[in-house]
Subunit: 412 residues, 2 copies
């Protein structure tokens, strides 16, 4: 059953180069509609759309609270078929099973919009909106082509166009959102996107908390000059200090803490072989499971910038914070219930930290929320060859079914 | 006089953002035509165009040999008003003065095309063509938009279109060039584009040789992966080793030699904040006045790559040579004559090495060629605020005049 749903999703926007189904696009809409089609014959299940682009399949009416399962159907460019889709397909299966037994169960599926945040560099968009965690300024974000998120939201009929202030002439930031119902408890299944489960030989990972993510922009300002006639001691080369720091990033997480640190993007201007660069920048991302680990690495990065500065006289170095998502604990109640379900089914599970962000992290702000993983083959994700064992995919649906069945009985 | 010529050139394609007059463009053509206009009333001086886009203003006819002065009229984007233009304006003045005295003097001005090589990343284009130093494959070079140099040459009527091989279907590389005359001796005036003259308090720099330029591409191949879920020890991060090497470049020329080393361009793929890079590259350029200095730095760079490799397991590192222009001695005969002219005029000169490449470097392959500098204010060039003292600009024309006068008398 879960495989049928997954195949249906895969057929939307798939090619040899993988799945490309960006958030807040027509492709994402098509996938949401395909999910809603699972209940097209039900008179009680309603398709509810909100002001962020989320789609909810809700059994019954009213403010709830509901037992909710879900995930997302958007992807990165050339991504895989399971990231997000697994949790939605599993939720559909579980809700169908629950409704066969309890016609009036207060259960719902949440399909969160734009989890990947690829286009605007944000992420967890729809679930953050639901949790009241979208700042008023966020719709001012621009994509690579200079298109504003607010324009996309207005075009898709989700938000009104931003108006300009009469005094300043500038756009007035604004994001209006009212969650359509309350959540009694939330569970999400996801692929691990790493190798911890495979390496430990376990079939289920119970996420106790999701690591925090901090991003900074390292930036330098020097002066262009001729790469031949400017002696080394007279240069104000903006690239050398930035490159040197990027080369040393792995040292910042060595030994003392559990984090990972990455520079995925950097740039240099004017970018000509025989011109000394006057500008360089690098985006540094750090993830760690505790505030203490995060603070320690932030301190070390600051120190690295401070010691690099004096070695690059005449070059201005800056470390600008971009974002700071704090580590988030998941609901112990939901987690231990899923743990119990695994134990009863004879499935080996382990508790773990998620180094990737997931929608459950947003929901945890407003309701008890749990998150569990099944193993990713070779630990690969965000790639066309992302995959999981057939029996583990089925297991994800089974666990959600058992969990929802028990939660519903608790509420009824 | 020289200022009038310079003002005329400056008026072509100048704006607040400086001079943008790329090689092999209509703007360059306009500047060549403006230079030729200096002799529009002369019946003896002919405008000769060749198959590379160079323009020669030749007094008389036949294969020569001629006493030649020249430089270039193309610029980098947003460049200055003197780089190249000084040498052409000075040559025009000198030739006019010589012809006033010796109507039949075998003298000529060379205006070399596309010295900067900005569009196709080559350089000294026209003068290399004259010297037989353009390889048959060079017209296959592509600009940033994928336009081939061969297409530009064909469009401008300089070369025939490349034909495709009947067997392979591929373009057959081809560049046809015949120099229109022989050069008896060549002299070029240029701005220094550095601070050596100002720092030493001299008005003329006599270039004894031009430094060599070697370029390499450092390249790495790793594997993309999720920046959260991939532990540090399991990464095949392509950027960290490349950035680390770029950060260490200045150490490679420290102490032992006279060279300068620069990374002006680098890149990373896929270039997304939360994806571990699978590819990175950096262009490294080294300039030094002797083969020995060049070899020593090349050896150190190779060593740096060799010691960096083992610290980045699973990442393939390569050091690919792009180009190798060897240090070029200038004609001692021409240089000492210009030195003598300065001495007689009571102008302080100094012998020096040019760290920048100039057209005289190409001409030196086929004729005795000399090159001298006047000071650049604040050492600045390739920028809108590039400038020199008014009296030094005049001096450049005066020196060329005296040199040409003496050379012509030697030939006549």
């Amino acid at each position: 059953m879960i495989h049928q749903h997954l195949k249906k999703f895969k057929a939307i926007s798939a090619s040899k180069e993988g799945i490309t189904r960006l958030g807040l696009s027509d492709w994402e809409d098509k996938a949401h509609a395909a999910a809603a089609a699972a209940f097209s014959r039900s008179r009680r299940v309603k398709t509810v759309k909100d002001q962020a682009g989320n789609t909810f399949l809700v059994n019954g009416e009213g403010p709830g609270p509901y037992v909710v399962m879900g995930s997302h159907l958007d992807s990165v460019p050339n991504g895989g078929w399971l990231d997000g889709a697994l949790g939605v397909a599993g939720a559909l299966v579980a809700m169908q099973k629950v409704l066969q037994k309890h016609r009036r169960a207060p259960v719902a599926v949440a399909i969160w919009a734009d989890e990947e945040g690829y286009r605007f560099g944000n992420g967890l968009w729809g679930s953050r909106a639901f949790a009241g965690k979208v700042p008023q300024e966020e719709p001012l974000l621009l994509d690579r082509d200079g298109v504003m998120l607010a324009e996309v939201l207005a075009e898709r009929g989700l938000q009104k166009k931003l108006r300009r202030s009469r005094e300043t002439g500038e756009l007035v930031p604004r994001f209006v959102y009212k969650p359509p119902f309350e959540i009694a408890a939330y569970a999400e299944a996801h692929i691990e996107q790493g190798r911890q489960l495979i390496d430990a030989g376990k079939r289920v990972g119970l996420v106790t908390h999701v690591s925090g993510i901090r991003r900074w922009r390292l930036e330098s300002m020097g002066e262009t000059n001729h790469a031949g006639t400017t002696p080394m001691r007279e240069r104000r080369d903006a690239l050398v200090p930035i490159a040197g720091m990027v080369g040393r990033l792995p040292q910042l997480v060595r030994g003392v803490n559990n984090g990972v640190i990455t520079c995925g993007a950097m740039g240099v201007e004017p970018g000509v072989a025989n011109v000394i660069p006057n500008k360089a920048w690098a985006i540094v991302e750090h993830r760690a499971p505790t505030d203490r680990d995060q603070d320690e690495t932030a301190r070390r990065l600051k120190e690295l910038v401070a010691t690099t500065g004096p070695r690059a006289p005449g070059v201005g170095l800056e470390m600008l914070p971009i974002s700071n998502v704090r580590p988030m604990p998941m609901s112990e109640e939901v987690t231990s219930r899923i743990e119990e379900i695994c134990k009863k089914a004879g499935v080996e599970s382990m508790r773990m930290v998620s180094m990737a962000a997931h929608d459950a992290m947003s929901v945890a702000h407003v309701a008890p929320a749990g998150l569990f993983f099944i193993p990713s083959l070779r630990g690969i994700s965000h790639r066309p060859d992302e995959d999981s064992r057939r029996e583990d995919i089925k297991l994800a649906g089974d666990i959600l079914t058992r969990w929802a069945m028990a939660e519903v009985q608790r509420v009824l």
